[in-house]
């Protein structure tokens, strides 16, 4: 098991390296435009351009440029935003991380609980009304744009029904946990639910399919012949095996969420997380910030995937020696 963990994290490091090279190539080696002009932002004066060229070593070969960028990002932490008059990028990101993590972890907990609950219910109660409802929610989960759903939620809770049902909903924004868990959770409640609802639908639908397959497996028949209760068969045998593919998907989605969908949710709900930071950088093409947030997110995704793979190996003894 420990060997497996080491191997898995070694692979994660390699992937991280590959991603950083890829990002580097996209930003610095795409043919067409002078990368210094890109980094300095629109209409930069010659002095700034010269400063950028020196700082990133654009007169030097590509590997040196790569090393310089990595140094700015991870060692000296002095990557600067030129569009934003010399703000340091890394501290901005570090400041934004807790917001994104609050959003994503909270949503993930809700969607896993809801998804597993609804999926199990639908799988165990096939033929009742629960089943088509869960299936429908699953289709909506993969079809509705999350940022749009967030806007509709905002419209309802902040405007249309804000004077009656939803008068308790605080204005958009983020309150750190240090100012009280209650306020923190209250501000994040609707972002959480918006994000979680769609994923819960997808997961419930997937789990239902897996569960129905598992319930037709021979080992379930064996378990019945052993004289176990239906509940124990469902939970200990069928569900336990059905969760394996769900967990591996969770790793992918959790990672993608930190970088992708959460970005949109943060923008819509005005949460100053890494996604919002990226969004603002996109509005004025602030490349150093985009590079920083992308590599941060990639780091997170790869880490999450590695953790989930290790978890996966705990769940499924068959992959441990592979």
């Amino acid at each position: 098991m420990i060997g497996y963990i080491l191997r898995r994290f070694g692979a994660a490091l390699l992937v991280l390296f590959a991603i950083s090279v890829l990002v580097f190539l996209i930003f610095f080696a795409t043919p067409g435009v002078d990368p210094a002009a890109r980094i300095a932002g629109k209409n930069a004066d010659p002095a700034t351009l010269a400063q950028v060229r020196a700082s990133f070593g654009f007169d030097k070969p590509l590997p040196v440029q790569y090393a310089l960028m990595m140094k700015h990002l991870f060692i000296s932490h002095d990557l600067t935003s030129f569009v934003n008059r010399g703000t340091l990028v890394i501290p901005q990101i570090i400041e934004a991380v807790p917001v994104t993590l609050s959003l994503v972890v909270g949503a993930a907990v809700i969607w896993m609980v809801l998804g597993v609950g609804m999926g199990t219910l639908a799988g165990a109660m096939r033929g009742t009304l629960v089943d088509p409802l869960v299936m429908l929610l699953g289709v909506f989960g993969v079809s509705l744009p999350v940022y749009w759903l967030g806007e509709v939620v905002n419209l309802i809770t902040q405007k249309q029904l804000h004077d009656s049902v939803f008068s308790w909903v605080p204005p958009l924004g983020y309150v750190p946990m240090s100012e009280g868990i209650g306020q923190w959770a209250l501000h994040l409640l609707f972002p959480w639910l918006t994000l979680a609802l769609l994923y819960a639908g997808i997961y419930a639908r997937l789990l239902r399919g897996e569960l129905i397959n598992a319930l037709n497996e021979d080992y379930v028949r064996t378990a019945r012949a052993k004289g176990l209760s239906e509940r124990r068969i469902l939970v200990k045998h069928a569900l336990r095996c059905s969760l394996i593919p769900i967990v591996s998907l969770f790793g992918l989605d959790f990672g993608a969420l930190v970088g992708g969908a959460a970005l949109l949710t943060e923008v819509v709900f005005g949460l100053p997380g890494v996604g919002k930071l990226t969004y603002q950088a996109l509005q004025n093409l602030d490349l150093p910030v985009i590079m920083g947030t992308v590599l941060y997110a990639a780091f997170f995704v790869v880490l999450a995937n590695a953790v989930v793979d290790v978890l996966y190996a705990r769940l499924d003894p068959r992959v441990r020696r592979a």
């Binding site: 012949a225 004289g227 176990l228 336990r240 499924d316 003894p317």
Partner: protein, 318 residues
């Protein structure tokens, strides 16, 4: 003659419009081995699943009587049935590769069954699992008890499944083609094992198989099924030495012989199995069928050797 342990009478199992088992009756005495033979689709597995209440298909209709130790199993509540399954009647399935839950150790799965029926500690259940694994011939059971199913070979898994089935000392063991998915040498070992275990534990066994060779080695009584019905029933000696039903003749003829004149070609039963709508289910594949076969023949006979065929006595020669 001792009281039968299991007595099935007029068992009928229907799925929608399709009758899988049609008026099956048989009994098993304590300690006896009943071999149930037939082609795939003859209803032999379905009838045993019906006996244990393991048919989960929605819309399945089951009728008749299944009396086990004086209680009709078909009328029992779920919880009462659960207490019998695995404790008094255990079942072994055909494919050992898929019969075990892949994510738990062998020992865990055996202990699970023990603890489902008896109030024993985890420790004690595990010790019993180790003892059982040793008994079914798994080397180094103290280590292998913590192995996962995928770490076992097919024969080892079937041994583990048998160990699990025997864990509560059942009075009746139903084995559904326990050797079919295994290679020939392993088959022989598993049969040996089952014979020995029957002697040690004294369980009665219902052995479902399509292999006449297996029946001839292990069975005391033989039940031949075709199209969801019993077509011949008798002691092993009776069925093998004086078979009475044309279908049984066909089954016996299609087993290659080691001595005697060598057949130029192994005889087969023509056609494909499947009950015809009315009359004798075997009629359209039977070389001897005649006018009377348009009606279903009853299962009749004397001195315990019964058959369901209209063929007159003088023509009962192969």
């Amino acid at each position: 003659m001792p009281e039968p342990l299991l007595e099935v009478s007029d068992l009928r199992i229907r799925f929608g419009g399709f009758t899988a088992v049609d008026g099956l009756s048989f009994s098993v005495r304590p300690g006896e081995v009943l071999g149930v033979v037939g082609e795939s689709g003859s209803g032999k597995s379905v009838s045993m699943l019906g006996v244990l209440g393991l048919i989960r298909t929605p819309g399945a209709e089951i009728s008749g009587k299944v009396v086990f130790r004086g209680r009709d199993l078909l009328t029992l509540k779920n919880a009462e049935m659960r207490a019998i399954r695995g404790r008094e009647i255990a079942m072994i399935f055909q494919d050992p590769m898929t019969a075990l839950t892949p994510v738990y150790t062998i020992g865990w799965q055996i202990a699970e069954q023990i603890r489902a029926h008896e109030k024993v500690s985890r420790r004690a259940a595990r010790d019993r699992a180790i003892a059982l694994l040793g008994e079914v011939g798994i080397p180094a059971p103290e280590q292998r008890v913590d192995a996962y199913p995928h770490e076992f070979s097919g024969g080892m898994r079937q041994r583990a499944v048998i160990a699990m089935a025997l864990s509560c000392n059942p009075a009746l063991l139903i084995a559904d083609e326990p050797t079919t998915a295994l290679d020939v040498t392993t088959q022989a070992q598993i049969l040996d094992l089952m014979r020995r275990l029957r002697a040690d534990h004294g369980s009665a066994v219902v052995m479902i198989t399509h292999d006449m060779g297996v029946v001839s080695e292990i069975a005391d009584e033989v039940l031949v099924m075709y199209g969801g019905r019993a077509v011949e029933r008798g002691s092993r000696r009776q069925v093998f030495h004086t078979p009475r039903h044309p279908y049984t003749w066909g089954l016996l003829d299609s087993v290659p012989r080691v001595n005697g004149p060598r057949a130029r070609r192994l005889p087969t039963i023509p056609g494909t199995p499947g009950a015809s709508g009315q009359g004798c289910p075997f009629a359209d594949r039977c070389a001897h069928s005649f006018a009377a076969c348009a009606e279903v023949p009853p299962l009749t006979g004397d001195s315990g050797h019964l058959d369901a065929c209209w063929l007159p006595e003088e023509k009962r020669t192969r």
